[in-house]
């Protein structure tokens, strides 16, 4: 029975001791401990948050980089395509030009050759005429050196005339 009857003296002492403990610990232990724990939690949370932020920024940067790379690639492809087109065009144009020039040169050569040929032919004709004149002169001279032959010739002419 005594076991379950609280003693007043013990209660009084216990109240004094425990209230002192609560007061001292509350002021000098729990306050700084809980404050430090809170501060640590906050700093951890902040660190985690900034890490998360950094991660997000990283992701954004990466996405940007990828976009940039993709754009650069597209641009490069476009440029290559354009360059090939331009090159082809230039080649085509050059070929056309070349063929035109060649044709023109051939044409010119042909006309020159024609002119030269004409000139040469007329020269040959002139020379042939001159030569024939000279030959005929020489022949005439030789054939008409004596009278007899002159006579023969006249005769011949006469014969011919008669015939005509």
């Amino acid at each position: 029975m005594e076991l379950i009857i609280p003693e007043a003296g013990l209660i009084i002492w216990q109240v004094i001791i425990f209230v002192l403990v609560v007061f001292i610990l509350g002021k000098f232990a729990w306050k700084p401990i809980l404050a430090a724990l809170k501060a640590r939690e906050n700093s951890i949370e902040q660190a985690l948050q900034s890490a998360e932020q950094a991660r997000q920024e990283m992701e954004k940067l990466q996405a940007n980089n990828e976009k940039l790379i993709r754009e650069a690639k597209e641009e490069r492809d476009q440029m290559l395509k354009d360059a090939a087109g331009i090159a082809n065009q230039i080649k085509e144009e050059a070929r056309d030009e070349a063929s035109k020039i060649t044709e023109k040169m051939i044409e010119d050569a042909r006309s020159t050759i024609e002119t030269e040929k004409k000139a040469a032919l007329s020269e040959i004709k002139n020379q042939v005429a001159e030569l024939s004149l000279q030959i005929s002169e020489k022949l005439l001279r030789k054939n008409l050196e004596d009278d007899k032959s002159q006579k023969a010739l006249i005769d011949e002419y006469v014969k011919e005339v008669k015939l005509n």
């Binding site: 005594e2 076991l3 379950i4 009857i5 609280p6 003693e7 007043a8 003296g9 013990l10 209660i11 009084i12 002492w13 216990q14 109240v15 001791i17 425990f18 002192l20 403990v21 609560v22 001292i24 610990l25 509350g26 000098f28 232990a29 729990w30 306050k31 700084p32 401990i33 809980l34 404050a35 430090a36 724990l37 501060a39 640590r40 700093s43």
Partner: protein
Amino acid sequence: MTNISLGFGRIAFKFGTLIAFLAILAGTPVQAAEEGSESSFVMHHIKDSYDWHLIDINHHPVSVPLPVILYNKGTGFDVFMSSAFHHDNAGKVPVEAGKNTYLKYHEKIYLANADGDLTFDDAGHPTNARPMLDLSITKNVFFSIITAIIVLWVFLSVASKYKKYGVAAPSGVQSLLEPVILFVRDDIAIPNIGKQKHERFMPYLLSVFFFIWFANLLGLFPGAANLTGNIAVTFTFAFITFLITNFSGNKHYWNHIFNTPGVPWWLKFGIPIMPIVEFIGIFTKPFSLMVRLFANITAGHIIILSIIGLIFIFKSAVIGVVSVPFAAAMTFLELLVAFIQAYVFTLLSAIYIGGAVEEAHDH
């Protein structure tokens, strides 16, 4: 291979030493009981006493004397050391202090009658007057002070580490106790009181948790006082919880008691059963706190002492082969109970306080 066998050997050695240690220490108080009945020896170790009884050497008790402080109306305070009784517990050695003569009978101090003796009733209980107020530093008060000193020393040194190193990672005792502090905050206070309001009650909850836990653990030492197994001590804690709960009770809390929502009006104002039940509940809650802690700790002590007591009842050392390991196992269980009861007391206190500061919400 050698390492493993060495390690095993060391563990076995430690275990053996522990059992031997427990046997020796648990055995010491038992010797004192040889004269009386075994149940009285158990009760003697559970109850409070005026001196700190350590050991009996050749049937001569050795104890630490503690101050006896008595107050009587008219004659004021009388102070003397408990050794003045010379270990008498049968009301045979009178101690004169001031104008009064005191006698100690079964760990209770009585004022001597005109003959300087005790008067007994038919049931054999003394009918003498007792001092008006007994403020003696009894064994329990002494151990309460020791517990307070240990708790203060541990947590003030831990707090100084927090002050010195700030938010740095904890080390030493700090890292041992920090999870427990966080446990009280995150698993007891915040879920039951709420994130906004818990801070106000943290000093009490942490103090009561660690005081009870340390006192429970200290009580497991052989020869130590059964502090948290004393109804006056558990009454004090429960009473403080009662005061905090009702003084921080808001409108919603009182409304819930006297005008319980969801109850037919005639049960509230016609036949006021609900207000009466709720009002009684204000007192039964802390009452259950008081009894739970007291009963759990006392029961644990009774079991351990009874198991050891078997050796002396049967007067055979062979019983020790069974009862000593069993008592050791019980002591391990008590280590767990020490924590659990501190946890339960704090948790329920937090729940009661949480109920008192809870804001009204839709039912």
